[in-house]
Each structure stands twice: as C-alpha cells, then as structure tokens.
C-alpha cells in the first residue's frame, strides 16, 4: 500500500470561527467608564464633640424640600440662579480668612466679589450647607451638588487662568503628566485648591441640632 500523505487541515474556516468569537465579545463588552461626583464624608465625630462656632454669615444654607423646591438663605430660588448665588457667596471676601500656619489672617486678595460685610468673609471660611428632606428626589440633590461644584470650578479656573495662564483642569493634567512629581506644579495645584477649598456639607435629614 502506498503511504498516504497527511491531508492538510483546511484553514479556510478559521476566519469564520474568529469572526464568530469576535462578534460575541463585541456584543458583550461594556466599556463604561464609571464617573461620578466624588464626595468625602466627614469622619464620625467623637462623643461629646463640640462643633466649632461658625458665624451665620459664613454659612450658605440651601434647603431642598420634598417637592424639590429650593430655599436658599431665606428665600425661594430657582435652580438656575443657584450657581450664581453660590459663586457670589464664595467669592465675596468681606473679611479676614482663616490664618495659615505662621501667618496672620489676611483678607482675600484674589476675590472679585462684592465685599459685602453681611456675606462670607473668605473662601476658606465659606461653608455651604445642603439640607434635604428625606423625600427629596436624588436627581434634584445631584443637580444642586453639581451646580455648587461648578461654581467652585469656575472660581478655581479664573484664579488659575489669572495666575498661571492655564485653566485648572489643564494645570491638574500637567501635574498628572509629570507623574505627580513636579514640585512647582504641585505647589500651584495646592495653591488653587486651598484658595477655593470645596466646603460642602450635607446636613442629615434626621439630624436635629
């Protein structure tokens, strides 16, 4: 008997098989980049903790009721006006700020606000307190948070643009690109951050103080 050669495996259908798998993975893949509003919760206060006394004028009170209506510093407000109002409050700069270590308390020299003595003293003293009813819709709550954050980022951008000629996201990006090592960039980012610290507190609906 003549020895037969091994017949070659037909590779023509390989592409079909690969296509099938490819389509399967194409369909199942989800490339959702999770993104969201990041928050940092306050640590649990120790027992018999005395909250520091804060002047009323340094607090920007926002209440959201169960019908998703806004009540800001004693008056009803539309969602559209919130950003502007928060911006004016933070940027007011009517007095002296919190003293940094080894320095005297200084007024805000980069603020462009109205310097109204009845409003906040300094961006690092300005506290935004959001109080919401238990039945408030989550969507509304997010809108409020978003408006407040966008007021902060506008202020940060403005300062960054003026001092370093680049926007704050660009500055952060540059710092990240340097592998978080560039000292001068770190100082710049720190400076902007501490100039307009985001102080937004959530008052728990059940909390009765």
């Amino acid at each position: 008997m003549a020895r037969r050669e091994n017949p070659e495996i037909n590779a023509g259908s390989m592409a079909d098989i690969a296509f099938l798998l490819l389509i399967f993975f194409l369909v199942t893949t989800t490339m959702d980049v999770d993104s969201g509003i990041s928050k940092r919760l306050a640590e649990k206060p120790p027992k018999n903790y005395e909250p520091p006394k804060i002047k009323q004028k340094n607090i920007f009170e926002i209440s959201i009721n169960r019908n998703n209506q806004l009540f800001v510093d004693g008056q009803v407000m539309e969602m559209k006006g919130l950003r502007e109002a928060a911006l004016n409050f933070i940027d007011n700069g009517g007095g002296l700020g919190n003293a940094k270590e080894g320095e005297e308390a200084k007024p805000c020299d980069y603020c462009q606000g109205a310097k109204d003595p009845e409003s906040s003293d300094h961006p690092n003293k300005a506290i935004i307190a959001v109080e919401s009813d238990r039945a408030t819709e989550y969507g509304t709550y997010i809108i409020v948070q978003n408006e407040l954050l966008s007021a902060y980022s506008e202020l940060r951008n403005r300062l960054s643009q003026k001092k370093y000629n680049m926007s704050y996201p660009e500055l952060e990006e540059a710092f990240k690109a340097s592998g978080r090592k560039d000292e001068s960039l770190r100082k710049k980012v720190e400076f902007i951050k501490t100039s307009y610290p985001q102080i937004i507190t959530d008052i728990d609906p059940t909390d009765v103080n």
Binding site: L22, E43, S132, T136, I142, Q145, D204
Partner: protein, 157 residues
C-alpha cells in the same frame, strides 16, 4: 502584433490570507478589554442623573458598588425606588457595614484607604436612602464616596 494587449489579464484577487490575523488581533483586543458584569441586577438598571462636574473612577478593583432603585420583583419588594442592592441580593442599610468589610477583606491592607464606594442610584430614589447609606458608611469609616452620574447637563433647558 501579438505582443500587445492580447492577453486577458483579470484583476489579481485580493489576498485574504492575512484576514484571520487581523480578526484575531481584534478578537484578542476585545477579549482583554471586556469585563463581564459580575453581579446581575436585582433592580431595574438605575437611570443615573446627569452632571457635568464629574470625576472618573480610577482603580476598578478598589471600587465597591451599591445600587439603589426599583426592585425587579415588585411583588415582593414593592414599586418604590428605594431598594438597595448589595452584591447580588436586595438588602437593608444595616447590612452595609458587613458588605464593606467583606469588600475590604479582598484587597491588601495598604489599599484600604483608597477604596471608594460608588453609589449608583436612580434619579427618582430619595435622599433619605442616600443619607441612610451615608451614615452606615461613616460608621465603618468608608469615607470616599462617588455618586455615579452620566455626563451631561444637569439642568434641562
């Protein structure tokens, strides 16, 4: 003149020999990037609110997700938008500390401070639920929080 133009030349066929290679390359790419959803949702996929001031969540392995929304089994859990899903069960806020501890035991100790809790809540859920979750998270010192949103304008015009 037999020399010119008498031969019929068909178009040379495009070689498809490298097609499998190309397809395989794509295949491997998708195989590597694909992530299968580990938990199947017991609640209707939350309709996330939109916001513009968002930050990306980094380090997927350090993120624990809590879902809030309407339960699929409305007969058992009602039609409210405030059901909480932990892992693959619908739970109560009281179970959150155990849930977080469980997630922590899966990563090395040095990474625990960088762990983030992502809350994927439906637009129509209530802030009360969120604040319950927040209180429980504070109890176990899980302080980094991300409220998951879509990118977009928050206020509809």
């Amino acid at each position: 003149m037999a020399k010119f133009g008498k031969k019929k030349k068909g178009l040379p066929p495009v070689s498809t020999a490298s097609l499998p290679d190309i397809v395989f390359m794509l295949l491997f790419f998708f195989m590597v990037t694909t992530t299968m959803r580990e938990t199947d949702l017991k609640i209707d996929s939350p309709r996330l609110p939109s916001a513009s001031e968002v930050k990306k969540l980094e380090h997927k392995s350090l993120v624990t997700t809590i879902y809030v929304g309407k339960a699929k089994e409305t007969g058992k859990y009602g039609t409210g938008y405030n059901r909480i899903q932990l892992n693959d069960k619908i739970g109560t806020p009281d179970q959150i500390p155990a849930f977080i501890e469980n997630a922590r035991s899966k990563v090395s100790e040095t990474e625990v401070p960088f762990m983030t809790t992502s809350i994927k809540a439906d637009k129509e859920s209530n802030v009360g639920t969120l604040s319950d979750i927040r209180l429980k998270l504070r109890d176990v010192n899980a302080l980094k929080l991300s409220l998951s949103t879509q990118k977009g304008d928050a206020i509809k015009k």
